[in-house]
Structures are given as structure tokens and as C-alpha cells.
Symmetry: C2
Subunit: 418 residues, 2 copies
């Protein structure tokens, strides 16, 4: 168990810091952080909870779990506080699920770069299934079925599938029809669904239909979420999980609580105060969430346009703050520059185009493909003042600092393909 | 992997809450929390860091690691910031060590109730070795050597030993002579030492000699610590680890960082601000730490006296805030009441004496023994005002609320043994 790699997005952060320290002027599109300031009422609640220095309940305080139950119930998932576990981020919850769920796990390809390493740390066999053309975050249904059968023939025991709704890295949202298909397979094939819905409140257009598998097959779906993305609170570490309310679901919850009690004890007290406020979603918070989602959408669409105009194919982004272009149509042009696969593409973008992206193979994608993830949430300005301006603008793309950042991407991509 | 138990001390908290909700007036000595208010400057630093909502470095920010390096260096462990990892508590760090260290692990008997479950979660074989008569927190040297050889003959591969200095649950501190012996064995037998020093700043008498194994065998010792105990910040979740500075030590650090990046990402930003202040140990903080240690010592010694006066044997407490009495001398008296082992003793104390303690078998001890852990840090008063009074009193035992709590223990123990 040596030479374990650092999570690649976090490793990339360090590379960027080093290059910048050397004087390089590079644009960082490799990290999935919503680069926005903390909303003032959230800070006020952190302050109000500052004196909560004693150990809190492992599961989360009653007030927090009540608020989280309301959050899910308002989203067509009737939830009692007993079905909720809060934690320092959704990562530890996903890890605990890996430690207690039986069998192997199916992961879409590409997917968030933490799913596969977590399975490996838990000693769990993972198998990846390509995403459909329509959207990421779910395995292609036909490929999923074929893989399940092939795995079983090979003596494997696939029992869990992870979905990401909306998706990181593709910035897309699987349609209700696709979710129905996946749920039908999960039901027939006896799979537990772990539905990572941390980007749920970052759907760009509020009229986009969202179907959670827990609406379809509630007895076999665990939903995880958190405040890191929608409220730009990655550095505060607040995550939640929703378990099925039946006996088996609550037994699974107890298994996760057992791991929680031995591995992280409790969400920090001041953060529980924040969570109780945020998951209750008072009007001012809803307005802030809506403004954030609008901004994420506008900038993601603009970046998407740049890549498509340069000749890449790319699913139009509808959620989260990512685009995932495919430069396959430009393979001959890139090959002439020595760019022939995912690592050389990302390296070339860094060295020659001053753009940092996360290479597709680091997300489990085919290393020979010419794909990468670009996080578009780093373009809102380098100071809280500029970020607030971006959030409040009717047309953020017209702001000079946003326009400049987009122009830099445009120049970098032009350099890549010309 | 079903029916995993909740960490027993945290489970006990819930039992106490339920019994109290039913109107029972019980004294909770079962939970290792320092029931003291947060020191004001710590709260101020939390507030100052409140706007740090972005993801911080996995390892911890440079300022925090610099402060922690100074903390260890002042304790005769020369440390560079590169040797330090900060995390949301020392529990996740200990878990990560379990996930990356090879081989089996040796745990003293009794020991803190999280070591064995963490090893089990990591799929690691654990073997327990009794503590010597002199002090807990370390295995008896002769028994350790015999166990290592027996394990190897049985095809096992013991490679790590966990020490607790000072010890939870016995409230004692292994002498330098004992540490030298254990370190010699670790060297001869090629063991990595994980030295849990979270109670280091809760040594009651500052002149008590403290020897860390990392002073003796620095290349094979990882030290963990945190602010939960010494500064009563269990609910803030701030932990640290110190790795050896050589190549192998930094490789182990990298393995832990890999797990960290996939499981918890980073210590929350506001908490990093707190840690940078606390580990720098300015004079006002040192005075607060010293006052806390004095209080913990005075009350632990008073509780020790009560148990010894009742006829139990008990190692005199010198660190942390626990006593670990053995009622073996009173076995005939207790047997007449149906108390014949560790579970029936704890149950009888709850049902008949209104005292909640943590039964010894839950700490890995012999289930037939008549031993338990009593946390003495819950006796300082139920309000911050009373707790401050306890902290500032020249003689906290003379304060009415402390004296009343001690008298209740006295009455409960009298009921047990009469």
C-alpha cells in the first residue's frame, strides 16, 4: 500500500500554486470549486454557533436533521429526521457507504475522480460503464445491463451503482426517462443506488425536470448532498445523506453511523448551526442559490460555446459548473503538435496555452480520448468584490473581468487548434 | 458487514439523554469530554477565519503546519512543517494510518474504544496485550514480546503498536523507563509506533517527566494529537499528525494525504485559523492550558480517592481526566448483588447508583473483570459560569457544585459496596 496518489484535482491545485509562484500566468480550470464568497447570513450563523465546542451527536443534532428532512421533503422525497445523517462533507459519507455496502460498485465513465479511489481504499472492486451520448452522471443503460451480466459471469458481485445528478464532470443532467431506465435495471438486478445530488441546486434553468432515483425506488436509494457546491462552502465541510426509511434503510444508516462514530465523531458544532439554517432554505437563501445557479449557467454556456466554436464536440451544460469537451474532430490537427491522448492534451494546454484542465483519464475516461474537464466556476473574479459583482449582474458575461477570462480561454483554445 | 455497533462512548451519550428525558437524575461519567467552555481567544480566531469558505490545502495551510511544527519542536521533537498533517480531528488521521500501514496492529488492553473498531473497519487484524501494573497506554513489555513471537508463529504479521500517552482509560502516564523498553522492542521487532499524545497537555503536574517514543525512535514513530481534550474543543474537530522526517516517513505521510484527499479533503478553513493560533501557544493560552490541567488533576484525584476508600484498587491518575478502578477486592460483596462481571457492574451502577460509567470490556478489557472507566471531566458544572468558576478556583473541590458532584459519586459507590 505505498505510492498512493493524491486526489488529482487537489494535486493539480498544488501544481498551479507552484507554477504561479514561478511567475507563470495560468488560468485554473482544473478545480471544481465555486469561487464565490460566503453568503453573509451563513457567516452570521457560523458566528452564532461558535461556542458549540462540545461533541455533538454523531448523526447530527435534531434541529439540523429536521431542516435536512424538510429540504428533501420539499423535493418530492418525504423524509423523517431519522433518515438523515450529517457529516463533515459528503466525501466521508460516500467513503462510509463504500465501507459498509456489500459487493462491487459500478461507476459511470467518466465520473468524479473520488469514486474509484474510495472504492479502492475500501478494498471494493469497481467497474466502470460508459455514459450515454445524452448526458453524464449515469451509465448507459444497455451497457450497464451487459456489464452486470459479464461481471457476474466472471464471478463478480456488482451490488451498487453510483449516479451523479447533475453530473461532475460533464455538467449535464440525466433526463427522467434515463433515470427511469436505470431504476428499472437497479430493481431487476438488485442494485443499491447511491445518488450523489450535491449539484442539485446548481441546475441552471429551474424548469429543467429533475428526477431523483429515490422518487422511483426509494427503498434502494441513498442520496448524498452538501453545501460545498451550491453555496460555495467547500472549505466549511458540510455534507448530508438521506437513507431509505424502511428497516433495511435504517440498518444501513446504522452501519454508516457506526463508521461515523469511529472515524469522524460528528460535524463541527458551528457548522451544525450553519446547516440548520441553510437546509431550512429561507427566502433570502433561495434567492442567493438562484442567483448562483444563473451565474454558473451563463458562464458554463459561454465556455461551452468557445470549445464548440473551436471544433470540439461537447454536451451542452445544464447543471453544475463544468464542461467536458471532446477534441476528437481535431485529432489530425492536434497530432501534428504531438497531442495524441488525454495526458498530452492537458499537458499541452498547460505548457502552451496557459490553461489548467483536468485530463479525462484522471476521471476514469479512455486515456486515448482527447477529452478533459474544465471547471467554469473559477472565472468570476479574484476578489470577493468582483465575485459579488458577477453574482448580481444581469449579464455577467458583459463584465470586464469575466469577459477577459473568457477571452483568455478563447485565445488558449485558438492556440491549441490552429 | 451488518449490525456494526456505534462507538460505545457515543452510544452511551444517547442512552443518558434518553434516561434523562424520562426524568432519571443520573451522573454521566461515561464520556471523555472536557466539559469546559471554549477559551475566548479561540472563539475570536474562529470568527476571524469565518470567511475562509474555499477549499484549503489537504495537508493544512502553511501557517498551521508551521505552528504545529513549533509545537512539537518545543517538546523535544524537532519538526519541519512538511512533517505535519492537520485534519478534522485525530480520529480520521488514526483511521487513515490504519488504512495505509501494513500488517497487524498491537493494542494495549484496555485501550481507547476506537482503536480496535478502526482496525476492523480497515480489515486489519488487531491483537491486544495487557498493560503493566505501573501504568496504562502501553503494553506490558514482556507480554508484548511474547505476543509478537506467538503471533508470528501463528502466521500473523504484527507491524504496528499503538500507545496512548497519557492514557485513556487509565489516566496514567507510562514512565520514560517503560517507553525506553517499548521502543527497544519496536526497534528489534521492526514495529511502527503510533503514539496518540492527545492528552499530552493534560499531564496534571507539569514536572512529571514525559518521554515520547518519537524522541527515542523518531524514524519509526508517528505522533497524533489535537485540541479536543486539552482545550475542550471536541466539537470543533481539530487534529494533527507528525510523521518522521526521513524518506520513509514522508512516504507514509503521502499515503495518509492520499487517503485524506479522498475521504475528508481538508480541515475546515475557520478551524485552520483556530489551529494556527492554538498550536503557536501564546502565553495566555499556556496559562489556560495549565489551569485546565490543574483542574483535571484535582478532580481526578478526588474521584480516585473515593473509589480507593470504598475498597477498589486503582492506579493514581497523573494525566487526562479518567480513573479506572478495579473492584476485584470486593467481588464477594458485589456477587451477592448479582454483579459478577464488567457488564453487570456498569448496569448496576446505572440502575441502582445513578452513575454512568464505561464498562471495561467495551475498552477491550476482560469481560469477567470488575473494572470500568469513569471520566472525571464532567463534574465542573452544568453552565459556562460554573465551569469558569471551577477553572479559576484555587481549590475547585471546595466549590459547592463540584463538592456536590463528588458527594453523589461517593453515595453511589457506597450503595454499590455496602
Amino acid at each position: 500500500m505505498t505510492a498512493r496518489p493524491m486526489s488529482p484535482n487537489l494535486a493539480l491545485n498544488q501544481l498551479v500554486a507552484e507554477r504561479r509562484a514561478l511567475g507563470d500566468d495560468i488560468l485554473h480550470l482544473g478545480f471544481g470549486e465555486s469561487r464565490l464568497p460566503a453568503f453573509d447570513p451563513l457567516v452570521e450563523h457560523l458566528l452564532a454557533g461558535a461556542r458549540r465546542n462540545g461533541y455533538g451527536a454523531v448523526q447530527g443534532d435534531a434541529a439540523v436533521r429536521e431542516a435536512v428532512a424538510g429540504y428533501f421533503t420539499r423535493r418530492r422525497m418525504p423524509t423523517g429526521p431519522d433518515q438523515v445523517v450529517v457529516a463533515p462533507g459528503s466525501k466521508p459519507l460516500l467513503m462510509a457507504l463504500n465501507l459498509v455496502l456489500p459487493g462491487d460498485v459500478v461507476i459511470p465513465r467518466p465520473a468524479w475522480n473520488t469514486y474509484a479511489p474510495q472504492a479502492a481504499i475500501a478494498g471494493r472492486h469497481a467497474v466502470s460503464v460508459p455514459i450515454p451520448a445524452e448526458a453524464g452522471g449515469v451509465p448507459d443503460p444497455a451497457a450497464l445491463r451487459a456489464t452486470l451480466h459479464a461481471e457476474r459471469r466472471a464471478g463478480r458481485d456488482p451490488r451498487t451503482v453510483i449516479l451523479t445528478l447533475p453530473d461532475n464532470p460533464t455538467g449535464t443532467l440525466a433526463s427522467p426517462a434515463l433515470i427511469w431506465e436505470i431504476c428499472a435495471i437497479a430493481e431487476q438486478e438488485n442494485l443499491t443506488v447511491v445518488s450523489d445530488e450535491i449539484y442539485r441546486d446548481v441546475v441552471h434553468d429551474p424548469t429543467t425536470p429533475f428526477l431523483s432515483p429515490s422518487e422511483v425506488i426509494p427503498h434502494r436509494t441513498v442520496v448524498t448532498s452538501g453545501l460545498s457546491k451550491s453555496l460555495a462552502l467547500g472549505g466549511w465541510r458540510i455534507g448530508v445523506a438521506r437513507f431509505p426509511g424502511d428497516e433495511a434503510g435504517l440498518a444501513l444508516r446504522d452501519d454508516v453511523l457506526s463508521v461515523a462514530s469511529e472515524v469522524w465523531s460528528t460535524l463541527a458544532g458551528p457548522m451544525q448551526q450553519v446547516a440548520a439554517y441553510a437546509f431550512a432554505e429561507p427566502p433570502e437563501l433561495r434567492a442567493h442559490l438562484a442567483a448562483s445557479a444563473r451565474l454558473h449557467g451563463a458562464v458554463a454556456r459561454a465556455v461551452h460555446e468557445i470549445f464548440v466554436a473551436a471544433g470540439a464536440t461537447c454536451r451542452p451544460p445544464t447543471g453544475a459548473f463544468y464542461v467536458y469537451p471532446d477534441f476528437e474532430p481535431l485529432r489530425p490537427v492536434l497530432a501534428a503538435k504531438g497531442v495524441t491522448d488525454s495526458p498530452s492534451l492537458a499537458r499541452h494546454l498547460l505548457d502552451e496555452c496557459d490553461l489548467v484542465v483536468l485530463a479525462g483519464h484522471l476521471l476514469g475516461d479512455d486515456v486515448h480520448a482527447l477529452r478533459f474537464k474544465a471547471a467554469t466556476s473559477m472565472l468570476y473574479g479574484d476578489t470577493p468584490a468582483l465575485q459579488w459583482q458577477s453574482l448580481r449582474a444581469a449579464d455577467p458575461l458583459a463584465l470586464p473581468h469575466v469577459a477577459r477570462a473568457l477571452a483568455r480561454i478563447g485565445r488558449g483554445v485558438e492556440r491549441l487548434v490552429s
